[in-house]
C-alpha cells in the first residue's frame, strides 16, 4: 500500500472541504494538505445549491436580526454563541468569496445584490443568479488551484480513519481508477463529506450525498447530534425530487392548491398579499410549508399526479423576462424535465428531503470529541441550524466553518508530533483486508439496489414530515433487519478498475448506520420541534424535557445509544415561532417588552 505523508487531511472536496483546505494553506504554507474527494471537487453537491447564501448586507439589516431569525427558525435548538459568531462572519466570508471572483449578482451601481429568503426578516441572501452553489463551488475549487501546498486526491474514496494514541492520525482511501488503497498520514483531519439525504426515497440530493463522513466519525465513537431533524423542502419535482429553489418564492411565486387557492394563509402564515412579504406566506420557513402541504393532502385539496399528490408553484405572474433573468436554471429545469413553461403554466411540486440539520457533533471551533478530528459543512452539527435550517444559511456555513475547521485543524496539527508510521500502516492494512474482502466474498444473495430501496422507503414512511411512534418503531426494526441482510450482500463486479458497485456497497453500509441514528433519535424525541413533528400525543414543543441536543452513539451490531446534551442559550429565550401577521405582532410585543 502506498503512503502519503500530509499534515492535515481533509475528507470532502465540496464547499466546506475546499474552504478548509484554502484556510490551512493561507494560515501556514508549509503545511502539506491532502484533499480527498470521491468525486472531482466541482462535482460535489454544493454545486446544486441554487438560491443563495446569507449574510447581513443592507444598511437596514443587523447582525442581531440574522441571529434572531436563525435561532427562532431553528426552534431554539441552536448553540447561540456559535450562531453569534456565525452571523458576524457571514458578510466577511461572502466578501472573501467576492474577492476570489464569485460572480455575485449586482445592483446597477455595482454592489452585490441580495434577495429575500424564507424565514429571513430582511433581504440578506447573496446570490449568483440561481446557481449560487455552483458558482461558489467553482470559485473555491478554482481558487484552491492557486495553492501549491494543497495536494488533491480526486476520485479517492475514503473508507476509514486511522486513530492511534487516542487521536486521529490519518485516513485510508481507495483510488477509484485503480482500486488501490492509500494511507494518508496526517496529524489532523477535517471531515467535510456533506449530508445524507440519499437515505430517503424522494430527495433533492445528488448521488454522492450518502453520509459517509458521518458514519466514519460515528464508528470511531463520535456522537451524531440532532439526527432526527431532517428538512423537507416544500417545492420539489415529483418523482425525481429535484429542487425548485426557494428563490422562486423569494421572487414572488405563489403556492396554490387544486382550487388555485393560496392555502398557506390557512396555516398561520397569512395574510395573503400579492407581493412577497418576508417571513409570511410563501416566505415562511420550510418546515411550516412542508407541513401545510401534508395537511392539504389530508384534506384532499392537492392535485393527483403520476408521482403522488402535488400542489402548484405558480410563477406565471412574474413574466418570462424576469423568470429568465432571475431564475434561468429553474426555467430550464421545468421545461426540460417536466415539459412545463413556467411563464405559461404552474409547476407541479411536492416536498422532498433536502437537508440534514444534524451531524458529527463538534463545538464552535469545529472540533469533535475525538482529538484531531474536525468537521464542517452539512456533515457536521456545529449548532447553528437547530431543529430547522433556514434556507441560505448553509452555504454561508460552508465558508465560515470550513475556514474555522481548517485553521483549527492546522493549529492542532502543529501542536502534535507526527505519528508512528509502522503502526499506522498496520492499521491501514487491516482496513484494506476488510474492504477488499467485501469484493472477494462470494455466495451473497442480496442486491444492493434492493436493500437501498427498502431503506429509502422505510425512512420515508417512518421519518417523514409527520411522525408516529409505531411507524418510527417499524422503521427502526426494518433498519436492523437491513443491516443484517447487508452482511449477505452480493457484489457481482470483481474487478479493480472503476468498480463502482463495490463503492455503492460501502456507501450503503454508511447509509444504514446514519439512517439508524436518524430513526432512533426521532423515536426518542417525544415532542414536536422544527422539522421533527409528531402526531401521537407529542404535538407540542416540550422545553422542559427536550430543549436538548440528541446524541446518537454507535453500538457495533446493535441499536444506537441515544443520550442528550445541553443547548447553549445566551440572549434569546425560547419563544413562540410565529410567522406571517402573527409573527409580526409577536415581534412587536417582544420589542415593546424590552423597553
Amino acid at each position: 500500500m502506498e503512503t502519503y505523508k500530509a499534515d492535515v487531511v481533509i475528507i470532502g472536496g465540496g464547499g466546506a472541504g475546499l474552504r478548509a483546505a484554502i484556510a490551512v494553506a493561507e494560515l501556514d504554507p508549509s503545511l502539506r494538505i491532502a484533499l480527498v474527494s470521491k468525486v472531482y471537487p466541482m462535482r460535489s453537491h454544493t454545486v446544486a445549491a441554487e438560491g443563495g447564501s446569507a449574510g447581513v448586507k443592507l444598511p437596514t439589516d443587523k447582525l442581531d436580526y440574522h441571529f434572531n431569525d436563525t435561532v427562532a427558525g431553528g426552534d431554539w435548538l441552536c448553540e447561540q454563541d456559535v450562531v453569534e459568531y456565525f452571523v458576524a462572519q457571514c458578510p466577511v466570508e461572502l466578501t472573501q468569496m467576492e474577492h476570489w471572483g464569485c460572480p455575485w449578482s449586482r445592483t446597477p451601481d455595482g454592489h452585490v445584490n441580495v434577495r429575500a429568503f424564507g424565514g429571513m426578516k430582511i433581504e440578506r441572501t447573496w446570490f449568483a443568479a440561481d446557481k449560487t452553489g455552483f458558482h461558489m463551488l467553482h470559485t473555491l475549487f478554482q481558487t484552491s488551484i492557486k495553492y501549491p501546498s494543497i495536494k488533491r486526491f480526486d476520485e479517492h474514496f475514503c473508507v476509514d480513519l486511522v486513530v492511534a494514541d487516542g487521536r486521529v492520525q490519518g485516513a485510508v482511501t481507495i483510488e477509484i481508477a485503480s482500486g488501490e488503497l492509500t494511507l494518508i498520514e496526517a496529524r489532523a483531519a477535517v471531515i467535510a463529506t456533506g449530508g445524507a439525504g440519499r437515505v430517503f426515497r424522494e430527495n433533492t440530493n445528488g448521488g454522492v450525498v450518502t453520509g459517509d463522513g458521518m458514519a466514519l466519525a460515528y464508528r470511531h465513537g463520535v456522537p451524531l447530534r440532532d439526527m432526527e431533524f431532517v428538512q423537507y423542502h416544500p417545492t420539489c419535482m415529483p418523482g425525481t425530487g429535484l429542487l425548485f429553489t426557494e428563490a422562486c418564492r423569494g421572487e414572488g411565486g405563489f403556492l396554490v392548491n387544486k382550487d388555485g387557492y393560496r392555502y398557506l394563509q390557512d396555516y398561520g402564515l397569512g395574510p395573503a398579499e400579492p407581493t412577497p412579504r418576508n417571513k409570511a406566506m410563501e416566505l415562511g420557513p420550510r418546515d411550516r410549508l412542508s407541513q401545510a402541504f401534508w395537511y392539504e393532502q389530508q384534506k384532499g385539496r392537492t392535485i393527483d399526479g403520476p408521482h403522488g399528490s402535488v400542489v402548484h408553484l405558480d410563477l406565471r405572474h412574474l413574466g418570462e423576462a424576469k423568470l429568465r433573468e432571475r431564475l434561468p436554471q429553474i426555467y430550464e429545469l421545468a421545461e426540460q424535465f417536466l415539459g412545463v413553461d413556467p411563464a405559461l403554466a404552474p409547476i407541479p411540486v411536492r416536498p422532498a428531503v433536502h437537508y440534514t440539520m444534524g451531524g458529527i457533533m463538534v463545538d464552535g471551533l469545529c472540533a469533535s470529541p475525538l482529538p484531531g478530528l474536525y468537521a464542517a459543512g452539512e456533515c457536521s452539527s456545529v449548532g447553528i441550524h437547530g431543529a430547522n435550517r433556514l434556507g441560505s444559511n448553509s452555504l454561508s456555513e460552508l465558508c465560515v466553518f470550513g475556514k474555522r475547521a481548517g485553521e483549527e485543524a492546522a493549529n492542532f496539527a502543529k501542536s502534535v508530533p507526527p505519528g508512528h508510521s509502522a503502526e499506522l500502516l498496520k492499521q491501514a492494512q487491516a482496513v484494506e483486508q476488510r474492504v477488499l474482502g467485501m469484493v472477494k466474498k462470494t455466495g451473497g444473495n442480496e442486491r444492493i439496489a434492493t436493500l437501498r430501496k427498502e431503506m429509502a422507503q422505510t425512512m420515508e414512511d417512518g421519518c417523514g414530515i409527520y411522525r408516529l411512534a409505531d411507524t418510527m418503531q417499524k422503521t427502526c426494526d426494518k433498519l436492523d433487519e437491513l443491516k443484517q441482510r447487508f452482511k449477505n450482500v452480493h457484489i457481482e463486479d470483481k474487478s479493480s478498475v472503476w468498480n463502482t458497485e463495490w463503492l455503492l456497497a460501502i456507501e450503503l453500509e454508511y447509509q444504514l448506520d446514519v439512517a439508524q441514528a436518524m430513526a432512533y433519535s426521532a423515536l426518542n424525541r417525544r415532542e414536536s420541534r422544527g422539522a421533527h413533528q409528531r402526531l401521537d400525543g407529542f404535538e407540542a414543543r416540550d422545553d422542559v424535557n427536550f430543549l436538548k441536543h440528541s446524541q446518537a452513539h454507535y453500538v457495533a451490531d446493535g441499536a444506537p445509544r441515544i443520550d442528550y446534551g445541553p443547548v447553549k442559550i445566551t440572549k434569546s429565550q425560547p419563544g413562540t415561532r410565529a410567522y406571517g401577521a402573527a409573527g409580526e405582532k409577536a415581534e412587536q410585543e417582544r420589542n415593546a417588552s424590552h423597553v
Binding site: 481508477a177 485503480s178 482500486g179 488501490e180 474487478s495 479493480s496 478498475v497
Partner: protein
C-alpha cells in the same frame, strides 16, 4: 500494480460520422474553389501583363464550356463560403453591445450577409460604370 489500461479510440473517418462534421468538411472544401479561382485570375493577370493579344486569348478561353461549368460550381461554392463565413461570425467576434443589449447571433450574421450583398452589388456597379 495498477490494472488500468485506458483505451484510446481511433479518429479515422470522424468527419463522416456526424452530419455537423460533413457540413464542416463541405465548407472547408470551398477553399479548393477559392484557390482554383485565384489561380484562374492569376493566369489572367499574367496574360494581361503580356499584352492585348494574350489578354484577349485569356478572355476567349473563359467562354469554353468547361470554364463556364467550373465558374458555375465556383459561384455556388463561394456563395456557400460567404454564407458559412458570416454564420460562424458571431462565434468568432467579441460581443457587440447595442443600447445595453447584446446583439443576437442572427443580427450579426444578417448584417454580415447584407454587407456582403452590398459589396457585391457595389462591385457590379463599379464594373458597369467602368464599362460606360
Amino acid at each position: 500494480m495498477s490494472k488500468r489500461r485506458p483505451y484510446v479510440r481511433p479518429m479515422d473517418g470522424w468527419w463522416r460520422k456526424n452530419p455537423y462534421f460533413v457540413e464542416y468538411m463541405i465548407h472547408e472544401g470551398t477553399a479548393f474553389f477559392v484557390a482554383a479561382y485565384a489561380a484562374v485570375l492569376l493566369v489572367g493577370l499574367v496574360r494581361l501583363s503580356q499584352g492585348e493579344a494574350a489578354w484577349n486569348g485569356w478572355l476567349h478561353s473563359l467562354t469554353s464550356p468547361w470554364y463556364v461549368l467550373f465558374h458555375l460550381a465556383a459561384l455556388l461554392a463561394i456563395t456557400y463560403h460567404t454564407y458559412t463565413w458570416f454564420k460562424i461570425m458571431p462565434r468568432t467576434m467579441p460581443p457587440v453591445v447595442v443600447g445595453g443589449e447584446r446583439l443576437p447571433a442572427w443580427a450579426i450574421t444578417g448584417t454580415g450577409l447584407a454587407v456582403a450583398a452590398a459589396a457585391g452589388i457595389g462591385l457590379l456597379a463599379f464594373v458597369w460604370g467602368m464599362a460606360r
